[in-house]
């Protein structure tokens, strides 16, 4: 029997989990990552990972986790796969625990759980406030172990350029570029799993890491891999404003009792600690008494926008509100939130133990992503699988906090064996494919590089990128208005035209980060249009997608998945039904019990 071969692109949680599963199946796996996998964006996840273990005797259950997730996602997620994820979640926690994750413990030595947004239960296991880092390291260590046994070959410092797709439309490998030698090479595989994460960079500034450009997803999209629900972008309510990055201030700050407020008098100049309770407006607690500070992220984000832009109660007239943990005992803060409070103190020079933090919403996560089926993470192109934030299946119209880590590990764990099974069942493997298929793809990519290096235009890629970010942040995040979305799309097309006049300030052939960024930028512009057009078409409000001109959820017309296709250079949107076979849709409201 022939030995199949698998490639995984992306070394965050989903990619590492997929890699481990493939290696365990005894199949060789090549793992590609832009950064050393231990430096992947998953390290930025802070608050925790959800599983209905009911370890606090509150009557939590898998059914409740499932219902919270579907309800939190405003009924846009296909339900069967979400159910399977919630069923698998307790086992995933056990696995991570066995891998040695330093989860916080109860006095009995059991895992501790905290509360998170969109649920009334203590369902979130956590390792301080750096849970993503701890989980990523656990999987990184297991992959390193497989690597040392020769089962995994890493290609770190290599970026994905395109899939190698044969004449019958089957994926046979990838084309990548070494970020030092800038050499373009092709790599054969029977199946490729993509776990290429978020798309924050198309919004300029976000809570995402530098590598989260969505470039890989966009490249695949342009090669015929469908993209779903692109318009659903999560804006996290609490981030620290910054010019290079909007640093996340985890929901766990509220899960541990943090309160969001503004002075009732917008001209109040007193230091926050001296403002008496009666003169503070705890707007989330007042507007949403049942969930209070732990309403889902889309709700909290819109509430903060309302406070700042409609009620004009932003701090000192600025776009900011207080996130206050000063009333929580220092010992608790040090044990449970140290990592994030340290970030605030380091980057702003203010000690959040004694002074309330100033925060504002920031682009954080894409619920939309590569279209995959409802069974095994397969995309619309045979041989291509996707897992993690880069695909769309698990979070509907709004993701609940601490569900991303579980969806990454579940999806990666599903994709690995699925890819192995597909590869083993192939009639003819990648070795039978003509070498010209690979050579043609390599040539196409080399020509792109050559064009960029030699282009004598007037446009700087960073300038185009900044403008893209401004457009997307202004028009395609919290509040969406059709005429602004139309304007945004036309501006992005202008940027695409300007892109052709690009001029690289670095034309060298060694470790040319400018060239790589320019390549990513071209893909970002396409993906930005997918997000914008999806938002323009969807005339309703659902989860994170909010249109004041269409303020209600419209199940009759819009309980459907947006599916974008790229054909003849154009983005086409089609729609398909959502699988609501388990929980019938009902109105979603957090001001009362559901």
């Amino acid at each position: 029997m022939r030995q199949p071969k698998i490639i995984v692109v992306g070394g965050g949680l989903a990619g590492l989990m997929a890699t481990i599963r493939v290696a365990e199946a005894g199949v060789p796996v090549d793992l590609f990552s832009i950064v050393p996998v231990k430096r992947s964006h998953s390290v930025c996840a802070q608050g925790g990972i959800n599983a209905a273990k009911n370890q606090k005797g509150e009557g939590d259950s898998i059914a409740k986790h499932f219902d919270d997730t579907i309800y939190g996602g405003d009924f846009l997620a296909n339900q069967p796969l979400v159910k399977r994820m919630c069923e698998a979640a307790p086992g995933i926690i056990d696995l991570l625990d066995r891998m040695g994750v330093m989860f916080n413990r109860t006095p009995e030595g059991l895992l501790d759980y905290r509360r998170f947004g969109g649920t009334l239960y203590h369902r979130t296991a956590f390792a301080g406030a750096t849970t993503g880092q701890q989980l990523l390291y656990a999987l990184d260590e297991q992959v390193r172990r497989h690597e040392s046994e020769g089962k995994v070959q890493k290609y770190e410092g290599a970026t994905f350029l395109s899939a190698v797709i044969d004449d019958s439309g089957v994926c046979r490998g990838i084309c990548s570029m070494d970020l030092r030698s800038m050499e373009v090479t092709t790599h054969a595989a029977d199946a490729v799993i993509f776990a290429t994460g978020g798309i924050g960079a198309i919004f300029g500034r976000s809570t995402n890491s530098v590598v989260c450009t969505g470039s890989a997803q966009s490249a695949l999209f342009q090669q015929g891999v469908d993209y779903a629900n692109g318009e659903f972008i999560q804006v996290h309510p609490t981030a620290i404003p910054g010019e290079d990055k909007l640093r996340l201030m985890s929901e766990s700050a509220r899960g541990e009792g943090g309160r969001v407020w503004v002075p009732k008098n917008p001209n109040d100049q007193r230091p926050p600690r001296t403002i008496p309770e009666g003169e503070r407006f705890y707007f989330l607690e007042e507007w949403y008494p049942k969930y209070g500070n732990l309403v889902p992220r889309d709700i909290a984000t819109r509430a903060i926008h309302r406070i700042v832009y409609q009620e004009h109660l932003g701090l000192h007239g600025k776009a900011a509100v207080y996130l206050d943990v000063t009333h929580i005992p220092r010992e608790t803060l040090d044990r449970k939130l140290e990592g994030i409070l340290e970030i605030y103190e380091k980057f702003l020079g203010v000690d959040p133990h004694v002074e309330p933090m100033q925060v504002f919403p920031a682009m954080h996560y894409t619920m939309g992503g590569i279209w995959i089926n409802g069974q095994d993470q397969a995309t619309s192109v045979p041989g291509i699988y996707a897992a993690g934030e880069c695909e769309y299946q698990y979070h509907g119209a709004n993701r609940l906090g601490a569900n991303s880590l579980v969806s990454c590990i579940f999806g990666g764990g599903l994709a690995g064996p699925a890819a192995v099974k597909y590869a083993a069942n192939l009639q003819t493997g990648t070795e039978a494919v003509s070498s010209t298929v690979f050579e043609n793809e390599k040539k196409r990519q080399q020509e792109k590089n050559q064009m960029l290096i030699s282009n004598q235009g007037s446009e700087n890629p960073i300038t185009i990128w900044r403008e893209l970010g401004d457009i997307m942040t202004e028009h395609v995040t919290v509040t969406r208005i059709n005429k602004n979305l139309e304007l945004a799309d036309s501006k992005i097309r202008d940027l695409q035209a300007r892109y052709h006049k690009i001029n690289l300030s670095d034309r060298t052939k060694w470790s040319n980060q400018t060239l790589n960024f320019a390549r990513e930028l071209e893909n970002m512009l396409v993906l930005a249009r997918v997000v914008t057009l999806g938002a323009l078409q969807r005339n309703e409000s659902r989860g994170a997608h909010y249109k004041p001109d269409f303020p209600e959820r419209d199940d009759a017309n819009w309980l459907k998945t947006t599916r974008a296709r790229f054909s003849d250079g154009e983005i086409q949107l089609t729609y398909e039904p959502v699988d609501i076979s388990q929980i019938p849709p009902r109105p979603r409201r957090y001001d009362a019990a559901k």
Partner: protein, 253 residues
């Protein structure tokens, strides 16, 4: 020389090196000051307008970065001679001109970008993992006393940035000393209830060429660690364990 209260302009000097074997040179840049500016923002400004302070066009500076919140470990470099993360190096807290150089204990790839593969190889050598039987369902992990978690968690926050190697006099081209970060990981895995079962293997791997006995107790590492990891405690403990193991062999201790 402008001092740090001069808020109009930021003067930055960057050590440039176009490829691994090319000799380095310095370039100076004048940038516009903005609030909360950090060294990453300086480098981005240079990328957008790569022109030196004497008006000469140059290339953007190559550097490693990713999370920009000091948790990925990418952007370690020498800033005013000190090994630290560029993302958390705030311009207002730095004397100018700000001198930015690559780490010196790792091969330079280009400009400020360095190759830290040595550290990942060392993690392989000391078997820095819990050898689980498989990812299939085997039930819950072992109970862990809260005090072990409270000791282990700070160690598990190591971001493999390499700053502890950079400041260690024992890490040099004549000596393959693995560095404090690696021994601290040995300590972490050896305190975990499952990891403990394989403690001797890890201690054995932590000895020998480049091993724990090369630590000369300079204690620079603990000062340079951006995550405040008690590295000297880890070194002392691994040193003790290594002594025990070499004195009493594999059977005792």
């Amino acid at each position: 020389m402008p001092n740090k209260t001069d808020k109009k302009e930021v003067l930055v000097k960057v050590k440039r090196q176009s490829a691994p074997k090319v000799s380095p040179h310095w370039e100076e840049f004048r940038l516009q000051w903005r609030p909360y500016m950090n060294v990453i923002i300086c480098l981005r400004d240079i990328s957008e307008n790569p022109v030196t302070s004497d008006g000469r066009p140059t290339t953007p500076v190559s550097y490693d970065s990713n999370c920009l919140e000091e948790v990925c470990g990418s952007c370690a470099m020498l800033i005013n001679g000190k090994a630290r993360m560029a993302c958390s190096a705030l311009v207002d807290q730095l004397d100018q001109p700000i001198r930015i150089e690559p780490l010196t204990k790792f091969p330079v790839v280009r400009d400020l970008s360095v190759d830290r593969q040595f550290m990942f190889e060392s993690l392989k050598r000391v078997k820095a993992w819990i050898p689980i039987d498989g990812t299939y369902d085997l039930g819950e992990g072992p109970r862990v006393p809260p005090e072990i978690q409270e000791k282990g968690y700070p160690l598990s926050r190591c971001i493999t940035c390499g700053n502890c190697l950079e400041v260690c006099p024992q890490v040099n081209e004549h000596n393959p000393f693995m560095g404090a970060a690696i021994f601290s990981q040995v300590r972490l895995f050896n305190m975990h209830p499952t990891g403990k079962m394989h403690a001797k293997e890890r201690i054995a791997a932590a000895m020998g060429n480049g091993g724990i006995e090369d630590c000369a107790n300079a204690q620079n590492c603990v000062v340079a660690c951006p995550k405040g990891i008690p590295l000297t405690e880890s070194l002392a403990e691994i040193n003790r364990e290594a002594w025990k193991q070499s004195l009493f062999g594999w059977l005792a201790g």
